[in-house]
């Protein structure tokens, strides 16, 4: 209530810029709340609680000390239980004194049981280490972690284990987003795009977080790969929709990624050599914590050198680079500090023809400092300072004329979150996220400045969220988020709610609804992400908003199998996109740069998963529809965006051939993408260049479908040793086994009369070899 009171000083839904100090006061309040544990001790420990006991601590992997997110902690024979947060922290409170057995479970790990005796007023710190199940099983019983069952407790949420990312056959190198694209409800635009199209939303509707820091352009190689190095990643959690109030800023979904903390048991590392890139990582403990450093760099140079001079249109130079690092410092029993950073870039120099040179240079730099603190029984706080910078500096030199662009997004913020297990039935969360984002664009053509703009915006968001376990069968999660941007002075409230009913321990019926706002928009191209530009709301450009409704059932009929069925409907309104019909922005007001549209999407997703045995894997199927509408386009009628897929099926199977060999296969099938079939044509004599223009006459936009997409990938992994220096993995993969030449789009040759249509096709069969040594 205190937060609400602070959020409405003007009794108006529209804040003025003078309100900023209110937000700063709130930020300072949360900060001091974090710093002063005594304050929270008063808040969190009432008189009745003093006669009860509590247990809290961190749950980590025994082998590495890495935190486990989403592990279940319960007191056997009671209704007291929680899941660990992203730091691996848990807290069980208001426990009557007595003898208990604490049970910790997480898919892929052996259950942990320990008897504890709790006395009145006692707070027991119990840090628990879980051992991997596979390490103690015979060769036939394999537990998969494809899509973690525990984290599927919440509707719309999926955890993608790094093992899945590493083992899934992928073009040239393992990729986080390519693996995510296999989940039901998530599609890719093409073989060439790692962009995430989640539940009918475009990639900019997904918030990408790395260690709580926004990543603005998560792609390499013009969008072919995502920027996240699998060696450096600990957790990937995907909120496909209906995400709770603790997240915000996007209309559709959230991909929350955490870097590894680093091995707390021993020094370890990985060296990997692949066709496209090579990776090296090292991690280990030190006296007060752990560290991790991972580097990935493309290794295309030998290929380029061999092709240069023999093949046309080969880049003069081309590389991408990622560096991830993290340092953890255990300041005390209750305080943990971590510093994390990521730096990635793409650098291309491409002489496409005589007197035609393209230079592309873009990337991201992010950093965060996080202070996690156990403030009291059941009360955990996280304070994070983040910085994120996206830069994009293309240069085109053609015919002696130079075009240069400098586009940057600089975002500094502070996040503070409180996680409070008030009682066995209430888990309360509150937090703020405040900062400043600056977007600059400067264009120079032929030595003259043609565009220079800078939008600077303060932003603030705060949320309250409560998970209320009404009874063992019913759980309600409600929340409210408020967001404010100074550019345009917009304040919006976003209510969220989710309800779960458990008629049986193995069945969960769930539903969720919420409103979502987005204050940023991305200018991008599906085929090429090297020129991405972010734009902000401002005067005359109000934030996009949409509502989401979800309902689903999760069922574990037998331990080996799990089934999920989930339906969704979502709206999208006030979608502000750069108007593609604007040829030159000079002299136009900011709001004249956009077209404002609306849309909706709905669908049903089915996920079947086999979790144990020699054969494990999952099949995900989606039936969905997505539509958009913009005034003046397609007669202002709704049309399917290109990425709309009616049917989408992905099957991933792992088969353990022996203790040394594993076979993996992925089959994907999807309805052909939407495209526009030209119906007629005419000719217009262009009086400015004496050419004939060939305008096409079309009917409904994107009313035709390309041939269905399907592809089969297989891979084999051999586990072994590398000269007794460490374990090794040899991966042999074949992408697109039967070389299905899926159509990307059609192009037309107007030199022929009638014009000839030809298909631009996607990837043929591609072999891939990767050798990794873990030392």
């Amino acid at each position: 209530m205190f937060l609400i009171a602070l959020l409405r000083p003007n009794r108006s839904s529209r804040f003025n810029k003078a309100s900023l100090p209110v937000f700063l006061r709130l930020a300072l309040f949360i900060f001091f709340l974090h710093v002063l544990p005594d304050t929270l001790a008063v808040v969190s420990k009432d008189r009745s609680e003093q006669s009860q006991a509590s247990v809290n601590g961190y749950i980590t992997e025994a082998a590495t000390g890495e935190a486990i997110w989403g592990a279940n902690v319960v007191l056997e024979g009671t209704t007291i239980g929680v899941s660990t947060n992203s730091s691996g922290f848990y807290s069980l409170n208001r426990i009557p004194p007595g003898e208990y057995t604490i049970l910790v479970s997480f898919v892929g790990f052996n259950e942990f049981r320990k008897e504890v005796s709790l006395s009145s007023g006692e707070t027991l710190r119990l840090n628990i280490e879980l051992t991997e199940a596979g390490l103690q099983m015979d060769e036939i019983t394999v537990t998969s972690e494809f899509i973690d069952r525990e984290s599927r407790q919440n509707i719309g949420v999926t955890t993608v284990p790094t093992r899945l990312i590493r083992e899934t056959p992928a073009v040239l190198q393992a990729d986080v987003f390519r693996s995510i694209q296999l989940l039901p409800g998530i599609t890719s635009a093409s073989d060439f795009s790692s962009g995430l199209y989640i539940r009918g939303g475009s990639p900019d509707q997904t918030l990408i977080l790395l260690d709580n820091t926004t990543v603005y352009n998560p792609s390499h190689f013009f969008g072919f790969f995502s920027t996240f190095n699998p060696d450096a990643i600990r957790d990937v959690r995907v909120f496909k929709g209906g995400f709770p109030a603790e997240y915000g800023g996007r209309l559709g979904s959230v991909v929350d990624i955490y870097n590894k903390d680093g091995n707390r048991r021993r020094r370890a590392g990985t060296a990997s050599v692949g066709l496209l890139s090579s990776r090296f990582s090292v991690e280990g403990p030190y006296s007060r914590g752990s560290y991790m450093l991972a580097v990935r760099r493309s290794t295309l140079e030998p290929l380029l050198w061999s092709l240069q001079g023999n093949v046309d249109n080969i880049p003069e130079s081309f590389y991408f680079l990622d560096i991830n690092g993290k340092l953890n410092f255990d300041a005390s029993d209750t305080d943990r500090l971590s510093v994390s950073f990521y730096s990635g870039l793409d650098d291309v120099v491409f002489p496409a023809a005589d007197d035609l040179l393209l230079k592309l240079y873009y990337g991201n730099l992010t950093g965060s400092t996080t202070w996690r603190r156990i403030l009291g029984p059941g009360l955990f706080s996280t304070l994070t300072f983040t910085g994120s910078r996206y830069f994009n500096e293309p240069v085109f030199e053609f015919g002696g004329t130079v075009f240069e662009r400098r586009n940057t997004v600089t975002d500094f913020s502070m996040k503070a979150d409180l996680d409070w297990n008030i009682s066995s039935s209430h888990n309360f969360k509150a937090g703020i996220w405040t900062g400043n984002v600056e977007v600059t664009i400067a264009d120079q053509f032929d030595g003259q400045r043609t565009q220079q703009s800078r939008i600077d915006s303060w932003y603030f968001s705060g949320y309250l969220q409560d998970r209320w376990e009404i009874s063992p069968e019913w759980i309600f999660t409600g929340g409210l988020r408020g967001s404010w941007y100074s550019s345009g002075d917009y304040f919006r409230l976003e209510p969220r709610a989710a309800l779960e009913y458990r008629p049986h321990p193995d069945i969960r019926l769930q539903t969720a609804a919420g409103r979502y706002y987005q204050f940023k928009s991305l200018i991008t191209n599906e085929a090429f992400s090297g020129f991405d530009i972010w734009l902000l709301t401002d005067d005359g450009v109000a934030p996009s908003y949409g509502d989401q409704f979800l309902a689903g059932v999760k069922w574990n009929p037998v331990p080996e199998w799990s089934v999920e069925l989930e339906g969704f409907y979502r709206t999208m309104r006030q979608l502000f996109e750069f108007d593609p019909r604007i040829p030159d922005t000079a002299g136009l007001d900011y709001n004249e740069l956009f077209r404002f549209g609306r849309g909706y999407a709905y669908g049903v997703e089915l996920l079947l998963q086999r979790n144990t045995g020699r054969l494990t894997g999952f099949a995900g199927y989606t039936w969905g529809t997505s539509r958009r509408s913009y005034p003046g386009f397609n007669n202002s009628n709704m049309f399917p965006p290109r990425f709309d897929r009616i049917h989408d099926l992905n099957i991933l199977l792992n088969y353990s051939l022996s203790d040394r060999w594993m076979a993996t296969t992925v089959f994907s099938y999807g309805t052909g993408q939407a495209y526009t079939e030209p119906l007629g044509r005419t000719q217009i004599r262009n009086p400015f260049n004496d050419d004939n223009d060939n305008p096409l006459i079309v009917g409904r936009v994107n009313a035709s479908r390309l041939p269905a997409y399907h592809r089969l990938d297989i891979g084999f992994t051999r586990y072994g040793r590398f000269f007794n220096l460490g374990d090794s993995e040899l991966q042999l993969q074949l992408i697109n086994v039967y070389s299905r030449r899926n159509v990307w789009f059609y192009q037309f040759n107007f030199d022929e009369n009638p014009p000839e249509r030809s298909a631009v096709r996607m990837l043929p069969i591609i072999p891939s070899v990767t050798y990794t040594v873990n030392f």
Binding site: A353, D354, D355, L356, F398, G399, G400, T401, D446, Q448, P503, H504, I507, T524, N525, A527, V553, L565, P580, R581, P583, D584, A586, G587, L588, V604, W623, G632, F633, N634, R642, I646, H647, Y675, T676, E677, P678, L679, G680, R681, T682, Q683, I684, P687, F688, N689, P695, L696, V698, G699, R700, N702, A703, R705, W744, F745, Y746, N753, P754, P755
Partner: protein, 304 residues
């Protein structure tokens, strides 16, 4: 046990509904079919005689296009001239060319198009009152060349051709320009960039810029603007005619939407949208422009 049975029934019902959706689910958004449309094309230039108007029909995409076969013949075509305020001034009657079917010329060749005036083209069937096609344009205001910084330049040398112009006028918006360069001595050869991308020797005789907003140029204190010719506008060595045109809204809409149809920078490949046609009863462009022409000689750089 009752709860489990209820849940199983619910699940069965849900799965059944799901399978029903799969089997019956069809996309109601279907491709429509081709419909023929009438096309008008004309481009008036301020200070010049009235240009011809071409009338055609669209053809199905899969058929060969021939201007002669697509020609719309035996039409009654006229252009109504109005002043800046829209007051009627006169009517210019057109007649069909005997040599070029579908091409209509003004009966009086001495009439001159006036900058800032409005012109409305109307097409009817002969002997019929019903209006088939109509379109209106506002001609950009005429402007003049004030001065240039020279007439001969070395290709990609230290100095570029610059010309200073009085400003044009268009009601309700800034001026939009297109720069067109025509090589008058194409036999002297192409500049290296165009030479590397040309497939035919007579390509790129005339090249034009994309649409350029007036706000791209700095306004001089005396109210004039100075345009610098980028080297990319020079396709051939020798003398080139440099024409700077202010364009009307009809051509602006046509060209900017054509750019999107050809694969604009943010549109997904394969997503094609119709052009912006400011024509009633059909499609096409009845546009106008005002321009200034100058000449410049571009020399090949000396071989080091």
């Amino acid at each position: 046990m009752k709860t489990i049975a209820l849940c199983r029934n619910t699940l069965a019902l849900t799965l059944f509904s799901f399978i029903f959706l799969l089997t019956s689910g069809c996309d109601p958004y279907r491709q429509d079919s081709y419909e023929e449309q009438l096309v008008i094309y004309g481009m008036l230039t301020a200070g010049e005689p009235f240009s011809p108007i071409r009338l055609t029909r669209t053809v199905p995409f899969s058929e060969a296009y021939s201007e002669e076969a697509a020609a719309l013949r035996n039409m009654h075509v006229r252009v109504i001239e109005m002043d800046e305020d829209g007051e009627f001034i006169r009517t210019i009657q057109y007649q069909e060319s005997e040599r070029d079917p579908g091409v209509y010329f003004p009966r009086s060749r001495s009439s001159i198009v006036q900058g800032r005036f409005r012109y409305r083209a109307e097409v009817r069937q002969v002997e019929a009152a019903e209006l088939l096609l109509s379109a209106q344009t506002i001609v950009p205001g005429s402007f003049e060349l004030v001065e240039t910084n020279g007439s001969t330049f070395i290709y990609q040398g230290p100095e570029q051709y610059e010309a200073t112009y009085t400003t044009s006028f268009y009601p309700g918006r800034q001026n939009y320009f297109i720069i067109s360069t025509r090589a008058l001595n194409p036999e002297l050869g192409m500049t290296p960039f165009y030479d590397s991308i040309a497939e035919e020797p007579d390509e790129f005789i005339t090249v034009s810029s994309p649409i350029i907003n007036e706000q791209n140029y700095e306004l001089n204190p005396d109210g004039t603007i100075t345009l610098r010719l980028p080297w990319i506008s020079v396709s051939h060595f020798g003398i080139s005619a440099i024409s700077v045109f202010a364009i009307d809204t009809n051509w602006y809409d046509y060209q900017r939407s054509l750019g999107v149809q050809l694969g604009g920078s943010t549109v997904s490949p394969g997503q094609i949208e119709n052009l912006l046609w400011n024509v009633e009863g059909g499609i096409g462009v009845f546009g106008s422009r005002a321009g200034v022409r100058s000449e410049v000689t571009i020399l090949s750089p000396p071989i080091p």
